[in-house]
């Protein structure tokens, strides 16, 4: 009897110990909202793959605080109200102490508002609209530079190489599009470039010819376009068809910067340049390895969206390991003190120029040369010499 009691106590102790053991190895669950269906699914898919890649690497090296990182993905199909509902659930029900993810600016805005309200840190991965980090939010951090800086590299290319006097701007009437166009108007003013046409269009437009004829008649030196992927291809195809000649066709990242653009626009994509935040040819520690790994696994090089997602996982790991404990406030404090090198470039969340917790990195220019996106600017990072001037449509074969 006595022995039985001893035994049962022993079993109890064992059970408790065993439970504690299991608990220590309990994985760190991190659910990420992103668009896996809908018009932005291409971007969401690339980010999901990059998140997973980073998590695998981290887990292979022992995880975060000795715990495995277990990622889950929640599809918001690029709808702000769904993104908002997902994040409310993650914070209120699942008690997740940190949020990362989302893609479109509209969704990131919605998530940022929830995160700030619930005092939970949120790291924005690739959403551009300036105002996301201009709201005096304490808990919202951004990996990628804001829209106001997207075109820094492009503007220097204009200044040094193209030297345009006039410009036309065509943009999608989304948060991202309007924000980009506004910043481009400011940039143009500063550079002394006259904006002849500044037009927005509704997503899903079938026919850009009317507006393109107008642009053609205005004859600008540069045509600057801000679109997601299908519109970008459609615009270039119709520009080719109308033979709208300009000294330069420039895209404002997003749809112009992913491999699908060339797949859909085919030869009409040739010589188009785009502003970008990262390229697979950069020499940051781990950048080329990530790009090569991604390409061998999925057949295409990733764009900045993927690189930023990949690096964000490392930034989060670094912050979680430096945080005293895993409460939202401690994690926030740790994020604020981040100073590290990633595949996306150096990361540091600064408060300047009216932005809070904003990471500032260089931006670059890529050009489609022989059907491939090549880094052409700034010259220090170039993998190929830029092609300028570009041939007129008539002369192209």
């Amino acid at each position: 009897m006595e022995r039985l009691r001893h035994l049962s106590v022993l079993v109890m102790v064992m059970a408790v110990l065993f439970a504690a053991e299991v608990f220590a190895a309990e994985p760190l669950r991190l659910a990420i909202p992103l668009p896996l269906t809908g018009g932005q699914a291409k971007f969401g898919e690339m980010m999901k793959r990059s998140y997973e890649m980073a998590a695998e690497e981290i887990n292979a090296k022992g995880g975060v605080r000795g715990r495995k990182l277990a990622l889950e993905f929640e599809d918001s199909s690029a709808k702000p109200e769904i993104a908002r509902a997902i994040v409310e659930k993650l914070i209120d029900v699942k008690k997740q102490p940190i949020i990362i993810g989302e893609y479109t600016s509209a969704c990131a805005k919605a998530v940022a508002a929830v995160a700030e309200e619930r005092k939970t840190p949120y790291v924005v991965v690739a959403s551009a609209a300036d105002e996301i980090t201009q709201q005096k939010y304490k808990y919202v951090f951004r990996m990628n530079p804001p829209n106001a800086h997207y075109s820094d590299g492009l503007m220097s290319y204009f200044k040094e190489v193209v030297k345009p006097a006039t410009m036309a701007i065509i943009y999608e009437s989304s948060d991202f599009g309007s924000s980009s166009a506004k910043d481009m108007v400011k940039n143009a003013e500063r550079a002394g470039i006259r904006v002849l046409v500044n037009e927005k269009y509704e997503k899903g437009a079938v026919d850009f010819r009317p507006i393109l004829s107008k642009v053609k008649a205005a004859n600008p030196d540069v045509i600057f376009m801000v679109s997601y992927v299908m519109d970008a291809a459609l615009l270039m195809r119709q520009i080719k068809e109308l033979r709208v000649d300009a000294r330069l066709f420039a895209g404002g990242a997003a749809g112009f910067d992913i491999p699908e653009f060339v797949d859909n626009a085919k030869d009409a994509a040739e010589y188009v340049v785009t502003a970008t935040l990262w390229t697979p040819q950069l020499t940051f520690k781990g950048a080329r390895e990530y790009a090569a790994k991604f390409k061998s696994k999925y057949g295409d090089f990733p764009s900045y969206h993927g690189a930023s997602a990949y690096a964000t996982v490392y930034v989060v790991k670094d912050a979680l390991e430096r945080a005293k404990n895993l409460t939202p406030d401690e994690i926030r404090a740790a994020l604020k003190a981040t100073k590290m090198e990633t595949a996306f470039g150096p990361v540091q969340f600064a408060d300047k120029e009216g932005f809070q917790n904003q990471n500032f990195t260089d931006t670059y220019v890529r050009q489609v040369i022989k059907g491939e996106h090549e880094t052409i600017w700034p010259a220090a990072y170039a993998t190929q010499k830029y092609i300028f001037p570009i041939p007129k449509w008539r002369e192209r074969r």
Binding site: A41, G204, V206, P210, S213, R237, K266
Partner: protein
């Protein structure tokens, strides 16, 4: 007017006319169903989406050109239309319900089922067929060396437009010259009289729903080389068809053609001279204006002219 201005105007008109021709083809199907069934088919755009997926897969898997797919997708859509009518709409027609227009609500449901099925099966990715001639065009200066202006005509758009014209002409011939076509029109004009004259009204309904679906299926195949495809694209084309149906006058095929062209040209003009962002607004301005000032649509004008003669 200076040469560049003339060029912009003409190029806009060309774009509007081509777009209008395709719009007309989308609108005719709806108008035909409207005339015979007295219901607005709000699954119209989704039927077009189904046809676009058929054309897309035929191209991707078997390299069949979308223009050839017209002859495959349109019959398939015809059958789908007949089946929808027979097994879903007819039973609902017979039931007394609280809402007099419950068949319309049924079509909304059909549309939702179709677009969500497409999302399930094909994810909501954007897709496009990359045909060789996607951005080929004819240029005025190629034929007239020292033309003062340069005009271009997109190969794909022009072909789509021409096929749309041919299909419309065949439809017109069918409705005016054949017995079956006349029976369809009789059913549309007066159901009871047609019944008394021995027209099989139920068959005519199935036929007209099938033809309506087949027409929009053809339109889908014509759209795919010049546009792209995703499961949720039906809604915007349903709206366009609806505007055209109202503008053309309910049930009038000729009205639908004129309505489609008016809408296309109006949208292009708005895009050029007001702003591209205003094109959808322009669409609804026309819609409201038609409802207020021309309740019978273009068809009522046509009838007045005829009476005048």
């Amino acid at each position: 007017m200076t040469a560049p201005q003339v060029e912009v105007l003409l190029q806009t008109l060309i774009a509007g006319l081509l777009l209008g021709g395709l719009y007309a083809l989308i609108g005719i199907g709806m108008t035909l169903i409207m005339g015979v069934m007295k219901i607005i088919n709000l699954a119209h755009g989704e039927l077009m989406m189904v046809a676009m997926f058929i054309a897309y897969w035929l191209f991707t898997l078997l390299q069949i050109d979308p223009y050839v797919s017209v002859f495959i997708a349109a019959p398939v859509l015809f059958v789908i239309g007949v089946l929808l009518q027979k097994f879903l709409i007819t039973p609902v027609l017979k039931v007394d319900s609280i809402l007099p227009e419950n068949q319309v609500i049924l079509t909304v449901g059909i549309g939702m089922v179709l677009s969500n099925l497409a999302t399930l099966l094909f994810k909501s990715d954007y897709r496009s067929v990359s045909v060789e001639y996607a951005s080929q065009a004819w240029y005025l200066t190629d034929y007239w060396k020292d033309a003062p202006i340069e005009l271009s005509l997109s190969f794909a758009w022009a072909v789509s437009f021409l096929i749309a014209l041919v299909i419309t002409a065949v439809l017109w011939f069918f409705l005016t010259k054949t017995d079956t076509g006349k029976s369809v029109r009789a059913t549309a004009q007066d159901l009871h009289a047609a019944l008394l004259m021995g027209v099989n009204v139920n068959r005519m309904r199935m036929l007209s729903f099938g033809i309506g679906a087949g027409l929009v299926g053809a339109a889908g195949c014509l759209f795919i080389p010049i546009y792209y495809l995703y499961p949720a694209l039906g809604g915007q084309f349903t709206l366009i068809a609806f505007v055209i149906t109202i503008l053309g006058g309910l049930g009038s095929t000729v009205g639908a053609i004129i309505g489609g062209v008016i809408l296309g040209i109006f949208e292009s003009m708005t895009a050029t001279y007001v702003g591209m962002g205003w094109a959808p607004v322009g669409r609804f301005v026309i819609f409201v204006a038609a409802l207020i000032f021309l309740p019978g649509g273009v068809a009522s004008l046509l009838r007045k002219r005829r009476v005048g003669k």
